[in-house]
Symmetry: D2
Subunit: 360 residues, 4 copies
Amino acid sequence: MNTFGQLLRVTTFGESHGPAIGCVIDGCPPGIAIAPEDFVRDLERRATGRSRHTSQRHEADEIEILSGVYEGVTTGTPIALLIRNTDARSKDYSAIAQQFRPGHADYSYWQKYGIRDPRGGGRSSARETTMRVAAGVIAKKWLADRHGVRVQGWLAQLGDVTPKGFDAGVIDTNPFFWPDAAQVIELEAFMDALRKSGDSVGAKVIVEATGVPPGWGEPVYGKLSAELGAAMLSINAVKGVEIGDGFDVVAQHGSTHRDLMRPEGFESNHAGGILGGISTGQPVRASIAFKPTSSLRLPAPTLDVQGNEVDIVTTGRHDPCVGIRATPICEAMMALVLMDQALRHRAQCGDVGEVSPRIP
Amino acid sequence: MNTFGQLLRVTTFGESHGPAIGCVIDGCPPGIAIAPEDFVRDLERRATGRSRHTSQRHEADEIEILSGVYEGVTTGTPIALLIRNTDARSKDYSAIAQQFRPGHADYSYWQKYGIRDPRGGGRSSARETTMRVAAGVIAKKWLADRHGVRVQGWLAQLGDVTPKGFDAGVIDTNPFFWPDAAQVIELEAFMDALRKSGDSVGAKVIVEATGVPPGWGEPVYGKLSAELGAAMLSINAVKGVEIGDGFDVVAQHGSTHRDLMRPEGFESNHAGGILGGISTGQPVRASIAFKPTSSLRLPAPTLDVQGNEVDIVTTGRHDPCVGIRATPICEAMMALVLMDQALRHRAQCGDVGEVSPRIP
Amino acid sequence: MNTFGQLLRVTTFGESHGPAIGCVIDGCPPGIAIAPEDFVRDLERRATGRSRHTSQRHEADEIEILSGVYEGVTTGTPIALLIRNTDARSKDYSAIAQQFRPGHADYSYWQKYGIRDPRGGGRSSARETTMRVAAGVIAKKWLADRHGVRVQGWLAQLGDVTPKGFDAGVIDTNPFFWPDAAQVIELEAFMDALRKSGDSVGAKVIVEATGVPPGWGEPVYGKLSAELGAAMLSINAVKGVEIGDGFDVVAQHGSTHRDLMRPEGFESNHAGGILGGISTGQPVRASIAFKPTSSLRLPAPTLDVQGNEVDIVTTGRHDPCVGIRATPICEAMMALVLMDQALRHRAQCGDVGEVSPRIP
Amino acid sequence: MNTFGQLLRVTTFGESHGPAIGCVIDGCPPGIAIAPEDFVRDLERRATGRSRHTSQRHEADEIEILSGVYEGVTTGTPIALLIRNTDARSKDYSAIAQQFRPGHADYSYWQKYGIRDPRGGGRSSARETTMRVAAGVIAKKWLADRHGVRVQGWLAQLGDVTPKGFDAGVIDTNPFFWPDAAQVIELEAFMDALRKSGDSVGAKVIVEATGVPPGWGEPVYGKLSAELGAAMLSINAVKGVEIGDGFDVVAQHGSTHRDLMRPEGFESNHAGGILGGISTGQPVRASIAFKPTSSLRLPAPTLDVQGNEVDIVTTGRHDPCVGIRATPICEAMMALVLMDQALRHRAQCGDVGEVSPRIP
């Protein structure tokens, strides 16, 4: 299942070290101005090799628009985007073609299909997320232009380090998408030590969408929360998703959790902007847990395809913390979910803003 | 979107206080022996009014099989299940028909549709989950008979109380699905005090499936983890989902997290039985966070449909902790996801067990 | 696959002689006034036993609305409709439980599933179409109220008899849905003779929708024409579908076929109101071929489940021409396709009527 | 909706005169040997400019495999195919950018989207069918290798000319896919005269699949007949589809139509290999009606986007009979439908050949 979304359908293809990766975006409304330059910023934010703290693979990531856009405007027909793979060093992986890297999809893919493309993880590589970010650019644009919705993510935890302060303005001024500029030096030292150790750590990303009107999301199985969960858990290395207070609700009392409504607005947002699976008009917030990458320079025992025990060392170029570059990916997935739900809402209930009173 | 699953499609319908609730299960293989008695146990486990710690609404929950079963065996045609609502006290809710209960779906439904059935929460009521449990019974049966898969859930946290020990054998011997019998008295005291206070608490449920063969789950957007996430987050009151170590991975190092493979089997299961979205053959484990119900006897300010501030007190019959009865619901959702993925795997790759060597 | 439609999803269930048949209609907009009485007319038009020219099975066909309607208005949640089977004489079929009726689905179902419900054809019975008609009633109402679309069908051929004249006003005044009242006596004599002979004949139905705005239908695989084709060919006994001139186009010249556009409107409608899979604003017209039923009183050789040759005579109650009662079914399927496409169009392109100039 | 199929999902993209056309094939089983050469034959059969009787546009139609194939074998991940457009003369179309060509999708697209790519018909061009043929090559290969199914189409009528004899062996030896070699000279004269006249004619294609096992196809809405109907009606210029005897059944008697079963096999195949929407094991046969192309050198009045009447003459390069090249397209669509149904059957019922006795 390489298609995401019900009405805004994004189908991605491509392997890490194949000739190209790409996607087809179907169901996009006509009349949206789209140019190759629109993709540059978010692809840059996600790209590897932009700082010493991420994989040193250098991909040009130049988007070619193959269809669906005429004279700079979407026509309503499928939008195909293509990126050629330019810096794919397959030799890095030849050694492990017959081995299962621990913590990777090698074994499960091989058990499922009886065959796998071992070059850079093939289809299971995070390289695929480039196309999520590209598709997300269009969704972000539509959400902002038509509904004034803004989607912003940041790194909320790196290993055991958490932000001391929060300033949305600094998130994109450092390579960590960190909301507290004062901690950046500390983080760089943390990452340098980590890289030297040959080990990796996990991270937590928070994504928030503001300006979402009430009424988006479909009961019962198409809940906005359920689709955000699926969207985030479909990203490589994600092991957990929270909406609003998430697991903190376990120890909460109802008298604390329930967000009271006043004529001037909600008093709190423990729900993360979603009640009964439908948006309330408050900011929609999700937290995502990224596991530490399993591609380490530290040797480890594993098995080969014959079931023999062998020692493995992952060379190749990898991120000591995949979570760092994941922020724009999480933003993209939230934008795609919101736009899809917006279209589904329009189909069944017409455009938003028809019911009142609306709570501020 | 009231349908769940791609190949095993469960469509549910019905409101809390309408004439009936039901579901249609499409895509089910032929030849499965199904009788009304098969549904009794799990419906009992989920049902209200079975102990003083859950809502006192008493529903007979008698399943009628309307189609798809001939002479006690499934025929491959859609299986329709129906339960008449017998104990629906609508008068309990008449008072709040014009008010938005804080923390409930009242406001979001009303903003989406411009109309809502206020009786017992209408469609947003957890009454709907009865049908998930019923459908799950068929999935559990097929998984056990054909693949030897067993799905078991338990309550892993109630408010701030956590299990001291773990004995799978006692889970179904107490009304809390609690794995440590020695703590049951403590839990009863906890719940009695809570009920007296008129407040509510959250809970955490863990569900585990054993015997799942490697290879189930579809990259990239149909990951087993992603669909489990959507399944759990589609359950009422769920605010978070974890696969394997979940949010603990944030502070973990890769050298700790990666589960090493040995000829005799995996050394650990931090991944929760899923790598790259595909099962590894290890137990598949998910944790689910349930918020405290917002239906409290404690009065609170809220708004009516005209936007005026009013005081509200939720009378009616409610659970002080909705998470307690959620265990069989989580089991059902995991069973439905696994059976759906098993069918999808068979479609693309043929029956399981074709690739070797298989790690124990 | 017992669900029809992408956004307006109709899932039907039930066997001919099971306890009940029903459907769940998901994705229906809120705010539509629906009452049980609304279904009476079309269910009557489709029903058996209303004239001596159709099967003598007498079904009350009383619709019970189980969900999705509150105080007489749709709420946007799934609408479940149920009809209990009251006149199911299973004994009629016991004799042929082990035999394959020629021209019926007995053999193909048995080969697919390895099991079948032989009572009245089980799931393959045209009894299922009752629910299509019921769902169609809601679609017709929405199309008429919101868009002024009217869907009308008639019998365009019965065996080798074709209408001499056309008067839409008389279609519903005779049991044949025949547009020329003067031929009704002839048709009754034709059917009486046919019934005496124990044989059956085929029929052709034409359905036309007027008032359809231009722009409905999705390229490339969701063409309005393609979905009408699937809708009609999903009806029991249908062997052919035409849009507009249908098979007459094979011998036509382009200079004849192309419908010229003038400021005052199209000069002709060879296209049947669809170009490139999208409606043009002209009447949408489809012709449907119904085969002669294979349930005859004339004995014939066939096989039993052991592969032995046996003689078979279909007793039971059957239509000498299933096409006669098919007119309201074809109307319903066209209405369901149009409403689904209208919702999909609204999702992607917003409500209709935004582009001009519109050709009359 | 630019995706076709439920389990074997083909998503196509691209405009007639855009940079490229392509498709993504998802859900394809692993282990199928695929090379670029495999596509040559059917792309040649469909291609323009191969004889003077088709459009003189010369496209190299060189397939590039972008993903899903590793070392010459499918891996189970999405297969992306790309063809660059090399001979796109946009200038031919500049004149009619502001006009609606009669009988074309210009007006309906423009009404739907409010914008259109006029170059060569943009997305509505038959250029898209190149990708159907390419995807069909993989389906044909899988069907033949795994199930021994063969799909063969031919031209059954050209204008008012019908085949006098039938010899499957000659179908691919003439540019008309005509089954009677003796008539080829007659057809060439017919086409030469037609081309001189500047007019066009319609055609009828028949496609037949042999070796299809009984049991493929899904009741009720996923009938094999219904999906063949949708598949064929989704092809440009198709106005009608028949299964088996098609519209001839209207005047037939049941005693003639019902195909009798004998231990040695069926006595006839009026049903076209499908009963109750499920294959019977007999050859599956469909007839497809293609309208005469509306791109003529004969001038005609039409409207421009302002609604003014103007005269139009279609220059550019066009087929005097689009049906001629449609034969491989119809084959491809039937192959895609059959493979999709085969996978769906395997999912629900396991592999075929499990039920006996099988009728020869």
